[in-house]
Amino acid sequence: MNIEERNAKYNAYVEAKMPKTKPWPSLFRSFWVGGVICCLGELIKDLCLYFFPYMTTADAYTWALISLIVLASFFTGIGVFDKIGAYAGAGTIVPITGFSNSIASPALEFKREGLVFGLMSKMFVIAGPVIVTGVVASIIVGIIYLFI
């Protein structure tokens, strides 16, 4: 048996033996936690519209997003968010709460390396790729939109 054959055989054996994430329980947990976060966002929007009758719906949604971002950062700071995230997975990552956590957590982690080279430069180490993908995608969509 040559080396490549042995390695391929070994990796296939490992793949078969290693424990896998169970999809249904994970889906259920992310569904209900994600659902609760979305309902909370809707609730904040409705409360804004109720207490400030002159506010537009678009502004109310913006306030809901800001509130969720602040809440997620707060829960990251007091060390609770990672535990919710470990339980819910995509349920907390997909809503804007995940984005907030991905910026707040490296900021906390790297603050000991100083304000500029620690906190500021490492802040976007996880969220950076998301921002880049978003910007590039919107440029491509914009160019397509220009021609149709």
Binding site: R6, Y10, V14, M18, P19, G79, S105, F110
Partner: protein, 339 residues
């Protein structure tokens, strides 16, 4: 005349002995299965420092000082310190050595460092190059996460094959003495890479290295796995140790109930560490507490300690390289008549 047998095994004829040891662990490890064996369990894993890196270095220093005190010798008689850790440029060890002011060799063998330092220390003591040698290593969960994975507060899920880096340190003082635990043989491992690329599955990457060293040890010494009361791997974890059992069986060796893995044993099942513990501190803390304690009580007569290490970096992983691994084996006994 060479002090070696077979292809990879060293024989220590002058019998370097363990004359002192010490282990320091974090709170989570203290709550695990070996809480009562560790010499010191910290209440706070920052250990009064401002950063986890500083805490790691202070813990290592505490372990070395503890072992020197435990050996009841003067620090000036320690002629060589062999230490290593997981931080970039092994800062924890070097910073601890800065305070200690003893002749120092910095080692990097990833999680195999406990065995590597023991081998180096035993060689120095056996060859008459050191009166006493200190062999130390350790790891810290929080500093390792920061360097190798994600920020602590990031809300992600860990994959089911992942292991939990042990916050723990261990130090052994070796010297020549009349009686006690002796280092009899050591088998130096070769770097083995079976093309596992998943950095979240270290057990699978390191198991072939453990198999290679264990097989070489048994062939060189002519022993069988049953000749040892305990064969203990460092941090293969649950999956890795099951793979090692399968690999050894494939090569015609049966590992029985005398085989176990520090990573698999260290945490309680309720501690949610998936495959168990990993890191330099995993094997180091258990060897320097539980294993020596049981040897001294003669509950175990001889132990083969095989520390395994994954020799990759975050850069090599991101560039798609597979994970080269190494394992070193140290044969330890009490009474030690068979050399």
């Amino acid at each position: 005349m060479l002090n070696r047998i077979g292809n990879q095994t060293l024989v220590f004829k002058n019998k370097p002995r363990v004359i002192g040891s010490y282990s320091v662990v974090g709170p989570k490890e203290g709550q695990g299965n070996f809480g009562k064996f560790f010499h010191k369990v910290l209440k706070d894993d920052l250990f009064g420092e401002k950063s986890y890196e500083a805490a790691e270095s202070k813990m290592l220093l505490c372990a070395i000082n503890g072992a020197i005190e435990n050996a009841n010798i003067n620090k000036d008689n320690v002629d060589a310190l062999f230490a290593g850790d997981l931080m970039n440029q092994i800062i924890s060890s070097s910073f601890a050595a800065r305070t200690l002011e003893v002749p120092y060799f910095g080692l990097f063998g990833a999680c195999s460092t406990m065995a590597e330092s023991l081998i180096m220390g035993a060689c120095h003591v056996d060859g008459g190059f050191a009166r006493y040698a200190a062999c130390a290593t350790g790891s810290h969960f929080s500093s390792a996460e920061k360097q190798f994975r994600y920020p602590l507060e990031l809300g992600t899920q860990r994959p089911p094959t992942s292991q939990w880096t042990v916050t723990g340190m261990g130090c052994t003082i070796l010297g020549l003495a009349e009686k006690g635990i002796s280092i009899d043989y050591a088998t130096i491992g070769k770097v083995v890479d079976w093309d596992v690329t998943d950095a979240n599955n270290m057990g699978a990457a390191m198991a072939p290295a453990a198999m290679s060293t264990l097989k070489a040890h048994l062939e060189d010494t002519g022993k069988s796995p049953d000749d040892y009361d305990l064969i203990l791997t460092g941090d293969l974890g649950k999956l890795g140790s099951e793979i090692l059992i399968d690999l050894m069986e494939y090569h015609g060796y049966k590992l029985g109930t005398n085989y176990n893995d520090c990573g698999q044993m260290i945490y309680d099942n309720t501690q949610k560490t998936f495959m168990g513990g990993s890191g330099c501190g995993c094997g180091a803390s258990i060897l320097n507490s539980y294993v020596y304690t049981r040897l001294l009580k003669h509950e175990l007569k001889n132990v083969l300690f095989i520390a395994t290490g994954a020799l990759m970096s975050t850069v090599s992983s991101q560039q798609g390289n597979s994970i080269p691994s190494i394992a070193h084996a140290v044969s330890i006994s009490i009474g030690g008549k068979d050399v």
